[in-house]
Every structure is written in structure tokens, then in C-alpha cells.
């Protein structure tokens, strides 16, 4: 049996104790760090698995005959990282050799790094207090997706892509199933010993249509919720039933007239609005950005710290939560990578910005006494830092339906799915495309439009929101790989919302 398998064992949803072998190895790092003079230490031993399979159906060169190209890959990574504070400074080191001797050696390296860097520290690291936990936790899933035979996966995606490509006017089809797991053990010098296992699923279907005569190419995706769940989420996605709809809609998109640019009302569905929430609310309310820690790469934030508690971010309808506890959220986990028990907390209340996303070493910088549990590292070899929790927009009144929103629009656009996205480094100016656009005229949904993008300034956009549908329309979508940090790291995060309406947004005609 592989060392990683021996250490982590099988997922144990009912166990509350980490495996003894992991605890023994964790203790080596903690003891060695103390011996070397570190005032704090933690170790993460991690096994990461990523399985991706699917089909691409595309015509052969100079022919209408279709090639059906399958792909299957299963990547595994295993190792550990040690983080210490010595002389008031963080140090980190990591290695793929998970043995007691190597853990001790790498711990010494981490202490060396910290001590050397103390020469150029601005202020000593200060950690918000945390309780010590000894626990084992597994994310909710009914069926382990890795246990489902690969031929069943390939058959499902093959049949869905064949269905999309059934109409010869569809140029190409693509379908994939992604599964990711994180097996992680955390131990700290403050007494925590935590083992967690998380499984996430990412299905996708895509169709492309090309009008050769007029030189036009359009796409249509079936946007399935990526989520922390098991195989049951794939079954619920009904790929086979949705494939014919994608086939019909990509051709409708290809024939759709271009939008007339100008100020229009937008009704945005959850499969689209999640990304606008992510970029304009999720990233702007990260404390490390507001403080300047990300200034050189991901950027800062227009939400500078004096705005906390008083800045009018949006209309009174806007209530947004940071949450690493919600059902099926991609960022949901019981403890963060600081060993903090995760929570749900208000980010925006009735339109007013209330709280940042925080971690232990930054909470005190905005006068808070505990972390909000937003620490994450994407690998055993990555330094944990502040990453986004699931950030979701609360639903509106239960009586409000998407049809109510549409009926209140004289001239506007209904947008589904995500497309092109871009936002400035302080999260003010953004531009979003989408996957499908329908004209709204006289309070009714009409035919499809093409070449749509909209631009806005974050606070103006959220102030323009005058309608949010009720809880029964609330859905959660998300990003499997949100980038941030130097060296770059990737984070999976969900954003839930109900269909919402925004008045008089600047709509562009794209190429």
C-alpha cells in the first residue's frame, strides 16, 4: 500500500479522531520547531487527487466527418509543508518525502527562512487566538465519485456530447467530468490535530456553432453547479436531458441578432450573477487586498479599511454573507488552514459593507479579536493565506419570482451563464459577457441576442439592484480555480444567489 494511503486511510465520516500515524508525524514538526526556537508552528500533510475525463467531438480537417476524442487523467500529489514563526517572522518549507527525518529537516529549513527574513520585517506577526481542536471531518457525499468506474463516466459524457453533435450544423461538442479530493492533516503548536477530507465535482457541457459564410462563431454551455458533493450531483445534473437544449440553443445563438448598445435593465440568472458577485463583492472584501498584501499581483481594493461598517455598497436589498459552512459550497470545510473553526458572517447588510474576510495574522489590523476562518493553501507545498469563502447573496422576498422581475422591464436583457470577465485591480470597473442573452421587451422574454457585454462600476451596479427573487430560486455556482497570490495559488469557491434585476446598466456591442 502507498504511504499516502497508509497514512490517510479511507474516509471515515463517523470518526472524530485523526489517524495515529499522521498525529505522530505532525508531532515531529511541532517538537523540532520548538527546539529551533520557533514561537509557533503548524504542519499540513496533504494528499490531493484530481481526475478529469471527457470527450471532444470535432470535425476532421477539410471534412464534415466527426472525430470523437476521449481523454482520461488522474493526478495525485502527496507531501507536507511546515509553517513557523521565529523572531516574529513567518517561515515556510515543504517537501514531497513524508518521513519523520525529512519533516525534522524541513522544519529546520522553515525556521532558517523565518530567522533570515526577520532582518526585513515591518512588524512582528500577531495571531488572533484560536481554540485547540482534535477532530476528523469529511465533506458530505453519498457516492464517492472516484469509486464510480471510468467506463460509466466516459459513457455518460460520450452520449451527452453525441447528442449535442447530432445536428450537423453544430460544429463541435465538448463534455467533461472533473473530480477533486483533498485529504489533509493539520497539527499546530497550539494543540490542534485535525484531519479533513473534501470531495468536489465539476461537470461541463459545451457546444460551438460556426457560420462559415459570415465568419461567425458562437458557443453555448450547460452550466452545471460545481460543488462539494459526490457522484449523486452528476446524476442530478441530467446531462443527457440538457444536451438537446444546448444543441438547439447554440444554433439559436448563432442566428441571433446583435444587441443594440446603450443603457438597459438586466435580469441576471444565478448561473451568470455568481461570477459578478465573485469578482466585485468576493474580491473587494478580502482584507489582505484592502491592507496592501496583494498590491503587487491581484491588487488592492476600493474598500479601504475606514469604509468598514459604514460604506454604502449597494441598495438596501443587498445582503451578502461569507460562509465556509454552507451545504455543497466549494470552499466549505470545517476548519481552515489556520486551524480555525469556520463560520458564516455578514459581509454586506442592507447594502452597507460590514466585515472583511480575515485570517489569524490580519484580524487585529481591523480591530477584530478572532479570525473569520478564511485561510487556505491549495497544496501541501503552498503557503496558507487569505482566500475567499463562499460568498453568497441572500434571496429576496419569497413572493418575488423571476417572471416578476422580467415583467417590470420595458427594455432589457436576460443573461444566463458566464462568459468573458474582467475587473480592475481595485475591483471598481468590470466588464462581463455571458453565455446566452435574451431580449426583454415590454415585460416579456423575447428571442436570443448576440454580442452582448456590460460594463459598470461596482458600487453603481449594486445600487442599481431593485429586485431579487425569493429563496426557491436561489442557486449556487462557482469557480473551481480562482487565482491569487505569489507564487500563484488556486481556490475553489461557490457563490449563490437568486435571479436579480439591475436598472440602466451600460451594455456594449462586442465584435
Amino acid at each position: 500500500m502507498l504511504l499516502a494511503n497508509r497514512l490517510f486511510g479511507e474516509p471515515q465520516p463517523n470518526s472524530t479522531e485523526p489517524t495515529p500515524q499522521l498525529e505522530k508525524l505532525g508531532a515531529v514538526a511541532i517538537a523540532e520547531a520548538k527546539k529551533q526556537g520557533a514561537t509557533y508552528a503548524d504542519i499540513r500533510i496533504g494528499r490531493y487527487r484530481s481526475q478529469f475525463s471527457g470527450y471532444r467531438l470535432a470535425p476532421q480537417r477539410g471534412s464534415s466527418v466527426t472525430d470523437e476524442v476521449p481523454f482520461v487523467t488522474d493526478q495525485n500529489s502527496f507531501g507536507f509543508g511546515v509553517r513557523v514563526i521565529a523572531k516574529g517572522q513567518w517561515g515556510f518549507a515543504a517537501s514531497p518525502l513524508v518521513t519523520a527525518e525529512e519533516i525534522a529537516r524541513i522544519t529546520r529549513e522553515a525556521v532558517t527562512v523565518a530567522k533570515a527574513n526577520a532582518a526585513a520585517q515591518a512588524t512582528p506577526v500577531q495571531l488572533a487566538p484560536v481554540k485547540a481542536y482534535r477532530d476528523r471531518w469529511t465533506s458530505k457525499f453519498d457516492k464517492d465519485p472516484f469509486a464510480i468506474p471510468m467506463d460509466e463516466k466516459l459513457e455518460l459524457i460520450h452520449s451527452a456530447t453525441l447528442s449535442i453533435k447530432k445536428d450537423p450544423k453544430v460544429f463541435s461538442a465538448f463534455g467533461a467530468l472533473g473530480f477533486q479530493s483533498e485529504d489533509k492533516y493539520f497539527a499546530s503548536s497550539e494543540g490542534s490535530s485535525i484531519q479533513q477530507y473534501v470531495v468536489r465535482v465539476y461537470p461541463i457541457l459545451n457546444a460551438v456553432a460556426v457560420d462559415f459564410k459570415n465568419g461567425i462563431s458562437r458557443t453555448r454551455n450547460y452550466t452545471v453547479e460545481p460543488q462539494t458533493a459526490g457522484w449523486e450531483a452528476i446524476a442530478k445534473a441530467n446531462l443527457g436531458e440538457n444536451a438537446p437544449r444546448i444543441r438547439a440553443e447554440v444554433l439559436e445563438h448563432l442566428a441571433a441578432p446583435p444587441v443594440k448598445p446603450g443603457k438597459k435593465d438586466l435580469v441576471l440568472l444565478p448561473s451568470h450573477l455568481w461570477l459578478t458577485i465573485h469578482e466585485s463583492v468576493g474580491h473587494s472584501t478580502e482584507l489582505d487586498r484592502a491592507l496592501g498584501y496583494e498590491a503587487n499581483y491581484a491588487g488592492t481594493s476600493f474598500l479601504t479599511t475606514e469604509k468598514m461598517g459604514n460604506f454604502s455598497f449597494g441598495s438596501e436589498l443587498i445582503n451578502v454573507f461569507g460562509d465556509r459552512t454552507n451545504d455543497r459550497g466549494l470552499s466549505t470545510v470545517k476548519y481552515d488552514d489556520d486551524g480555525v473553526l469556520t463560520t458564516r458572517f455578514p459581509i454586506i447588510e442592507k447594502g452597507v459593507f460590514k466585515h472583511y474576510q480575515t485570517i489569524r495574522d490580519q484580524a487585529h489590523l481591523v480591530g477584530e479579536t478572532e479570525s473569520r476562518g478564511c485561510c487556505y493553501a491549495d497544496s501541501w507545498s503552498s503557503v496558507p493565506f487569505q482566500r475567499m469563502p463562499n460568498v453568497w447573496l441572500a434571496p429576496g422576498a419569497a413572493t418575488v419570482t423571476p417572471d416578476d422581475l422580467i415583467s417590470g422591464v420595458d427594455e432589457g436583457i436576460l443573461i444566463e451563464g458566464d462568459g468573458s470577465f474582467s475587473i480592475d485591480q481595485q475591483r471598481y470597473n468590470f466588464q462581463f459577457g455571458g453565455d446566452a442573452f435574451w431580449e426583454i421587451k415590454g415585460g416579456k422574454k423575447r428571442g436570443m441576442l448576440s454580442r452582448v457585454a456590460y460594463q459598470a462600476r461596482t458600487p453603481d451596479f449594486w445600487h442599481a439592484c431593485d429586485g431579487i427573487s425569493g429563496q426557491s430560486y436561489w442557486q449556487q455556482f462557482g469557480a473551481p480555480s480562482d487565482g491569487k497570490g505569489e507564487p500563484g495559488q488556486s481556490n475553489a469557491v461557490s457563490h449563490g444567489c437568486s435571479p436579480s434585476r439591475f436598472r440602466q446598466i451600460n451594455v456594449l456591442l462586442t465584435d
Partner: protein, 447 residues
């Protein structure tokens, strides 16, 4: 660092476990040391070793499976082979799979520097301290990142192919902001030799940009003559390279496709003059400043190739499969790009513009329309108004919507290229250039 013999042993061991006709092994080993700094002090930093073995197995009827492992014990490698073979056996035939390449003669690249491979805090911290000192002296606030890496890569297959290469790389990049948050400057350096990084020199650039960027004026969006500095050009040519695929071009999905053609006609602009005479864009893995490898993803020997030669589209990217169908020689992926320059300095460019904007760098570039390759993005860390050949003051940032092909089509003057490493487009050699009618669509209030 993995030696050639260690890599060979790993590959031989994996191939020895393999039972299917095809087996390819890719080995990656990296040791890196990095320091992040912000708020005028070091924040996080680390030293790490990572390794990954990728195994691709293929059956006689072209079914393939791929696995990746990071453990190197015999049982882990054996398990990795079994996983790849099990996946291959379950998978379906891949009509686009190409036969394994036999032994290749790979070129020798000189991009390993022993001092860089050995550099730790004693080499990196002084450069950080120089940047911090510049910030403190000028009452500014800095954030940045310095890193160096030593890399060993290897590849082998059952058909007798074997390759091994070591290279180093390093970079220092930082942002300088005023405490009021009304101005931001930025600078970057990257090199296979860490001794080329110079914190003091780099800080002088970012400090000049930051101090010169205070009291920005708001200009209306619209079409402007723009001088793009090398960092901005490097991003644009990187994105342009992504659009040079022969498959998309021949199948009507690219700006290089000829419109109005029959779906099966495969007509492209290959061989036609789409750009001015001064535009030559090539891939040059042998460029001494670039941390490239002797082979690309196809495992064919890397080669120097032009994509645009004096304005003419001279090559498209043909992978092995598409090349076999087109009856062409495969070409490498458009990486390690060099946009050839002219003997002008940046000051010469500025002096030649009556009214325009100088752009330091671009940010958050995304494709708006895949067919036309229209991109959107923003300016960042310094936009300056040029009037009558002189910089007359800072202006706000803008969002832009424009194809990088159009930028080169409207280029009138260039400087000599320099290496720039960008997060999404890798390392390229780019000059500064003047382009006309660049399409700014709205103002960004971001600093």
C-alpha cells in the same frame, strides 16, 4: 536536484513496470526559494522541493490513460503505471493519437546558472531590502515578490526517446504606492541568472512612476495613439500567440481564417501580409535570456520559428496530428516569443507622439470574442499623457477592448525587446511600441 542518471532510472523503472505497447514518462523536479513583501516588510516566504511524475499509457488501438504521482517508491511508481494502464484499457480509441516518437536529438540550451540554483535568503533578501529602502526613503509603500528556481525535467518513452535538461530562473517584481493610495508604480525583472536582478535599479523605476502618477487627470475614453511599454506588449503578443493554432484557423474559428469559405475549404491568411513590414514575431527557445526547454509538448526538438515575418503570416501552430492531416511539418507551440524591435529608445518613441498615452502595463486580459480575438483588459500602475513629444502628466486608468492583431497592424515604431515574465502569458521578449487608434472604452477609477 535530480541528476540525468536519476531521471533515467525513474523513467526506466516506470517503463519496466509497463505492460501496454505505449508508455511515456515525464519527470519534473523543482526547488524554489521565494519571498513576498508588503507594507514595507517581508510577509511570507518559503523554500520547497516539488516533484511530479506523469505517466501516459497507450494500447495498440490508440486508447490512452494518464496518471500523475509524486511519490518515488517502487510501489508508488508501479501503482502509477497500473492506474494509467487501467485508464487506457477502459478508455476508447483516440483517433487523434500519434505514434510514439523514437529517439530524438535535442538541442543544447544554456540556461542553467549554478549561483541561481544555490541562491537562498542571503542573495534574495538584499534585493528586497533595496526595494524597501527606496520605499521608506520616498515615504511610499511597497509590495512585491522575488523568487528563484532550479529545475530538472526529463522525458522518455518505450520507443527509445530520452531527454534531460536543467535550467534556472528568477524574477523580482514590485509595486510602489503612495500612502494616500492615489498613485501606483511598478517594475519587473526576470532572468535565468539571479545576479541580473537589481532591487535598487528596479525601485528607481517604480518610484519614478509612482511619484509621477500623483494628481491624475480624468480623460474621456476613446481611441488614442498609445505607447505600450514592454510589459504591456509582452502580454499582448502572448495572447496573440494563443490564437495562432492552425486547427482553429483552418476550421473558420480564428482571426486567421478566411471568411466566406466553404466549411471544408481550410483557407487561412497563412502567407499573406496582415501586418506592417516592421512586425516580425518569432519563437526563440535558444534566446539566452529565456528559461526554455529543449523539447515542447509534442516532444519534438524545440526550434526557432517565425510566426510573422516582416508583416507576413509565415507559420501557424500545427501539432503532430493536425500537421499529419494537412501534409505539413509539425511546428512548436508559440511560446518563448520575441517581437523584434528597432533601434529606438523609449524617449524616441515619446518624442515622436503629438498626443497620446504611455501605458506601463495591462491587467486582467480576457477573450471577448474567440473568432475575432477581441480582448478586454485594463491599464495599471501608470498611464501618462503625452503632448508634443513630452510626458505632461498622469491620467486615470482605462478599460480597453481590442484585438492584439489590430495593435500590431497599427504599430508604427518599436524599441529593442527586453524579457518580461507575465503571470498568464509566460516569458517573452517584447519591445515598447507605438500603436494608433487603441480603443479605450471606459475609465477605471482604480489606482
Amino acid at each position: 536536484m535530480f541528476s540525468q542518471q536519476q531521471v533515467k532510472d525513474i523513467i526506466d523503472q516506470v517503463i519496466g513496470y509497463s505492460k501496454l505497447p505505449g508508455c511515456q514518462v515525464d519527470v519534473q523536479w523543482t526547488e524554489d526559494d521565494f519571498i513576498r513583501f508588503a507594507r514595507n516588510g517581508i510577509t511570507t516566504s518559503g523554500y520547497r522541493v516539488t516533484q511530479q511524475i506523469s505517466i501516459t499509457s497507450t494500447t495498440g488501438d490508440k486508447r490512452t490513460g494518464n496518471s500523475g504521482v509524486s511519490e518515488l517508491t517502487p510501489e508508488a511508481l508501479r501503482a502509477g503505471v497500473k492506474q494509467a494502464e487501467d485508464l487506457a484499457l477502459i478508455s476508447h480509441p483516440n483517433p487523434e493519437d500519434m505514434p510514439a516518437l523514437a529517439a530524438q536529438t535535442y538541442p543544447h540550451l544554456s540556461n542553467f546558472d549554478a549561483d541561481t540554483a544555490a541562491a537562498r535568503g542571503d542573495v534574495l533578501i538584499p534585493q528586497v531590502q533595496a526595494v524597501l529602502a527606496g520605499a521608506i526613503k520616498n515615504k511610499l509603500v511597497t509590495a512585491g515578490f522575488i523568487q528563484r528556481s532550479a529545475n530538472a525535467v526529463g522525458v522518455g518513452n518505450k520507443a527509445g526517446l530520452f531527454g534531460y535538461h536543467t535550467y534556472t530562473d528568477s524574477s523580482l517584481t514590485h509595486t510602489m504606492r503612495n500612502p494616500e493610495g492615489t498613485s501606483s508604480g511598478w517594475a519587473t525583472q526576470s532572468s535565468v541568472m539571479v545576479k541580473d536582478l537589481n532591487g535598487a535599479e528596479q525601485a528607481a523605476v517604480s518610484i519614478r512612476k509612482c511619484l509621477g502618477g500623483i494628481n491624475r487627470k480624468k480623460l474621456d475614453p476613446g481611441k488614442y495613439t498609445v505607447i505600450m511599454e514592454p510589459a504591456a506588449v509582452a502580454d499582448l503578443i502572448g495572447w496573440l500567440g494563443f490564437a495562432f493554432g492552425a486547427r482553429d484557423a483552418e476550421q473558420g474559428q480564428s482571426f486567421l481564417s478566411k471568411p466566406g469559405q466553404d466549411p471544408n475549404a481550410t483557407a487561412t491568411f497563412l502567407g499573406e501580409k496582415m501586418f506592417p513590414e516592421i512586425i516580425t514575431l518569432r519563437s526563440d527557445p535558444f534566446h539566452p535570456k529565456l528559461a526554455s526547454t529543449p523539447w515542447g509538448p509534442s516532444l519534438l526538438p524545440n526550434e526557432k520559428i517565425s510566426w510573422i515575418e516582416k508583416g507576413v503570416v509565415s507559420n501557424l501552430f500545427y501539432d503532430r496530428f493536425w500537421a499529419s492531416k494537412a501534409g505539413k511539418k509539425p511546428t512548436p507551440f508559440p511560446a518563448n516569443l520575441v517581437l523584434e524591435g528597432q533601434s529606438n529608445s523609449l524617449d524616441d518613441l515619446i518624442a515622436s507622439v503629438d498626443r497620446g498615452l504611455l501605458v506601463t502595463r495591462l491587467w486582467y486580459i480576457r477573450v471577448v470574442q474567440p473568432k475575432t480575438w477581441q480582448l478586454t483588459g485594463l491599464t495599471r500602475d501608470g498611464v501618462f499623457l503625452i503632448e508634443n513629444g513630452k510626458i505632461t502628466g498622469p491620467v486615470t486608468n482605462f478599460r480597453w477592448n481590442q484585438s492584439p492583431a489590430e495593435v500590431l497592424q497599427r504599430t508604427t515604431k518599436l524599441t529593442q525587446p527586453m524579457r518580461v515574465t507575465n503571470d498568464e502569458t509566460g516569458s517573452n521578449m517584447a519591445p515598447a511600441l507605438i500603436t494608433t487608434d487603441f480603443n479605450f472604452t471606459s475609465v477605471s477609477d482604480a489606482v
